[in-house]
């Protein structure tokens, strides 16, 4: 009788692979899986250490391998802490009050039945009819277009003399293109342009209907529906469909405006994801109105206003986060970053700033120079830029031209510096103007990382700006 194949034979694995040294060096997850399976089967003997070793290796290579699916007998709730079980025990009390409230509503005469959707007309669907049959009968491949001219007979030499193969080829190509175009047009989904107004009126109608229905609902029901919507929104958010998520949160807020703090809060994040920071800010504020101590909302408000560009405001907002939770890592990090960007903030009673330009030092090695200089300059330059915004009172000595100037000069310095570094590559000269333009662009958009980069270019000129309080 034929012997059953062992796993080793089945996988065609040399016996030498069942070895510590091989397992250590193995890089192939699939192979590792096979080794583990062989070892687990015990067909080649029982090697607990080797098995453990190879399982660990497999875990390293492929952490979610199917071989790590274990099933255990179910455990009893005794293993849970009292703490963990308590929410459920408490919940049974909460839900009972809701349950009773609903039971009372049951006798309410005014039932929802009135505005139920109309019944559909009785109909039949034939289960055995296949979906594609009736609508799209399989078409025979389109016949080649009938040519007007007749086929040239092989013996008709006169005509063959006149025949131009190139022209024929061109004609065929054109015909092909035409059919392709037609095909495409057929496949293209017919665009049904819905005007904004129609959409809007539809939405309004829906809103009205909803409000109408909501009036009939009790508080318990409204809460319930709103919570469902909010969770639905969370699901959309998780699968990164932010627009749909916002829709769901909108509904949740409409359904239960009194307890919508969480919905507002979640909608704020969704708005931030689609980079609609203004909406996010207003949502956070709405949430904070209801729950002034909501940490997440405070943090989000700060983040949103930071992203919107109101850095100075966001600084205060971050500080408000810290008021609530002094060791909030996100807020601390953001503050650090902000302080780097804004520099040491002038106290609120400070009146005026003067910026004085020092003479540039002799150009040193650009690299370590930039390292040294970034810190002080990083503080000063942005201040020069933002301070006038924050403080409208006039700064007479302040000359904006001074600010622009360095950029112009840097160009030549950079190139010379790059050349000084050696003409090994042509790249530096090419990249120099690139780095040059970058800060200018980013300055316009006032994006944040660029703010950090800008001083570097300035340092190359060793243009030191100082702020003095008068």
């Amino acid at each position: 009788m034929e012997k059953r194949k062992t796993l080793l034979e089945k996988y065609n694995m040399p016996l030498s692979h069942l070895d510590f040294s091989y397992v250590e060096t193995c890089k192939n997850a699939r192979e590792m899986e096979k080794i583990v399976q062989i070892l687990r089967s015990g067909e080649e003997g029982y090697f607990p250490d080797l098995q453990r070793c190879s399982e660990e290796k497999l875990k390293e290579l492929k952490p979610n391998s199917k071989l790590f699916r274990y099933e255990e007998p179910i455990q009893n709730s005794d293993i849970l802490d009292k703490q963990e079980l308590k929410p459920i025990l408490d919940w049974t009390h909460d839900i009972k009050s809701k349950d009773n409230a609903l039971n009372e509503l049951k006798n309410d005469v005014e039932c929802l039945g009135l505005d139920l959707a109309p019944m559909r007309k009785p109909a039949k669907i034939d289960a055995d009819l296949s979906s594609t049959k009736p609508s799209k009968p399989v078409k025979a491949p389109p016949e080649p277009p009938k040519t007007t001219e007749k086929r040239i007979r092989s013996t008709d030499y006169n005509k063959w003399d006149k025949y131009d193969p190139d022209e024929e080829i061109l004609r065929m190509e054109l015909a092909e293109e035409r059919t392709k175009e037609q095909e495409e047009q057929k496949n293209r989904p017919d665009p049904t342009p819905i005007s904004e107004e129609v959409l809007k009126s539809e939405r309004n109608e829906l809103q009205e209907r909803l409000q109408e229905q909501l009036k009939k609902l009790s508080q318990v029901e409204r809460e319930q529906f709103a919570e469902k919507r909010r969770l639905r929104g969370n699901e959309y958010f998780k699968s990164k469909e932010y627009e749909s998520a916002i829709e769901e949160y909108n509904c949740a807020i409409i359904y239960d405006p009194e307890n919508a703090a969480r919905a507002y809060n979640n909608r704020a994040v969704s708005h931030m994801k689609v980079k609609n920071y203004l909406a996010a800010i207003s949502d956070c504020k709405a949430c904070l109105e209801m729950e002034p101590d909501n940490l997440k909302a405070r943090l989000r408000l700060a983040d949103a206003s930071y992203a919107q560009g109101c850095r100075r405001e966001s600084l205060h907002l971050y500080q408000r986060v810290l008021d609530l939770q002094p060791d909030n890592a996100a807020a601390l990090n953001a503050l650090e970053l902000l302080k780097n960007q804004l520099g040491e903030l002038a106290p609120s009673h400070a009146t005026r700033l003067m910026i004085e330009e020092l003479k540039p030092d002799a150009p040193a090695k650009p690299k370590d120079n930039s390292k040294k200089m970034t810190a002080p300059v990083a503080k000063t330059v942005p201040v020069a830029k933002t301070v006038p915004v924050a403080k409208p009172p006039p700064l007479k000595e302040y000359d904006l031209a001074e600010l622009v100037k360095p950029n112009r000069v840097v160009k030549s310095k950079l190139i010379t510096a790059a050349e000084a570094l050696g003409n090994k590559f042509n790249a530096p000269t090419a990249s120099a103007p690139k780095t040059q333009t970058q800060p200018l662009i980013s300055e316009a958009s006032s994006s944040l990382p660029a703010m950090l980069r800008m001083p570097q270019t300035n340092t190359k000129r060793n243009n030191k700006l100082l702020i003095e309080e008068i």
Partner: protein, 375 residues
């Protein structure tokens, strides 16, 4: 341990075969439907009272109950729709169970499966109940309609149907509502014993799509009934578990899916899942997170799965047709509950992690799963 764990909180032994368990919405009560030894139908209502289970009410009827649902009833009335072994569909008020609110002889044979929608949603169309039966028909009911279904999806009459009714007919084992995101759209998915899966569009009254599995389909569920179709979980005999991505339908290839062939495999040596294949009876999505679902298997095990979306859910071919891309499935947790199949399972709609399930070992269990919120 930072991953979810399935824990048995309470259990109750009963003296009948359990066929379905369902939580009553917004309450700590659940309903157990079953069949007594004398094939009478029985409905027990249990209530969770802190850490004990109290039987609140028992209702007995002449015919054994097979399946039930609360989906078509509003929060105010919370009526249960029940399908029984003789093909009767009844809607009961649990306060006054003696006189059904609605009662119809829906099918000529046992109603295997039931699903309902519309009671709990605003602006989402009429409340409707769909039943699937051994007589091969799938019927959609509106209790305002009277004694006939609003949509009748039955196979055409066949030769010899008169006497021997079950002759060549398919047996419908699973139905599910889905795609109900406004007052017009609605879909019904139906799974049959021969592995056929059909998707019926109730708006256009047509068969939208069909597919064939290798084995009979035991369980079907859309991840959400009341959103545009997103995913459909299908469980089959022989341990198959498929999750279809229902967002994009390719004109010829249909919907794309991810398949887990060993979802029903039993436990082999030292807890590793490597034993023989077994039926996956049921798949139920978590009401609080549509990408997490639980399957109940023929080996008495329950397994928690998580679906992970691909980076891009759709790819466009050269000729402009869109094809959906299926994601991946991860098993998060697994536990052996019983020596008998776990065939019915219900998550509590309002409390994350609380569930009730029934197995063929004549017992009902209340389960807790921890740390579901971290997924």
């Amino acid at each position: 341990m930072d991953k979810p764990q399935l824990i048995e909180h309470l259990n109750a032994s009963v003296n009948y075969t359990v066929y379905d368990t369902k939580w009553i919405p917004l309450s700590a009560k659940f309903v157990v439907l079953g069949s007594k030894a004398n094939s009478h139908g029985i409905m027990d209502i249990y209530e969770l009272n802190e850490d004990q289970l109290v039987k609140v009410k028992t209702v007995e009827k002449k015919v054994a109950f097979k399946c039930g649902t609360f989906g078509a009833s509003s929060l105010r009335n919370r009526h249960i729709a029940i399908g029984d072994f003789e093909g009767r569909l009844q809607v009961l008020d649990m306060e006054r169970p003696d006189l059904p609110v609605y009662n119809v002889k829906a099918h000529t044979a046992i109603i295997n499966t039931i699903d309902a929608i519309g009671g709990n949603q605003l602006d989402c169309g009429a409340p409707e109940i769909v039943t699937g039966s051994r007589d091969g028909a799938v019927k959609v009911w509106d209790i305002r309609q009277g004694q006939s279904p609003v949509v009748d999806i039955s196979p055409p009459p066949q030769m010899g149907d008169g006497i021997n009714q079950s002759s060549g007919r398919r047996d419908c084992w699973a139905v599910a509502f889905g795609n109900t995101f406004n007052s017009e759209e609605r879909m019904v998915a139906a799974g049959y014993d021969n592995g056929d899966l059909k998707l019926f569009d109730l708006r256009t009254l047509s068969v939208r799509w069909e597919a064939s599995m290798k084995n009979g389909i035991c369980g079907l569920e859309f991840d959400r009934r009341d959103i545009p179709m997103n995913k459909l979980a299908v469980t089959t005999l022989e341990g198959g578990l498929l999750v279809y991505d229902m967002r994009h339908q390719h004109p010829t290839k249909g919907f794309s899916y991810v398949e887990e062939r060993n979802a029903g495999r039993s436990v082999g040596t030292n807890g590793v899942i490597s034993g023989p294949k077994a039926t996956v009876w049921v798949a139920r999505h978590l009401p609080q997170n549509r990408d997490v679902f639980l399957t109940g298997g023929g080996t008495g095990s329950i397994r928690l799965w998580q679906y992970e979306y691909p980076d891009k859910r759709v790819v466009v071919d050269a000729d402009g047709t869109k094809t959906g891309v299926a994601g991946t499935l991860h098993m998060i947790s697994a536990a052996t509950l019983s020596s008998q199949p776990v065939h019915c399972f219900d998550w509590h709609p309002d409390k994350l992690g609380l569930a009730v399930c029934g197995a063929f070992d004549q017992s009902v269990r209340v389960l807790i799963s921890t740390k579901l919120n971290v997924l």
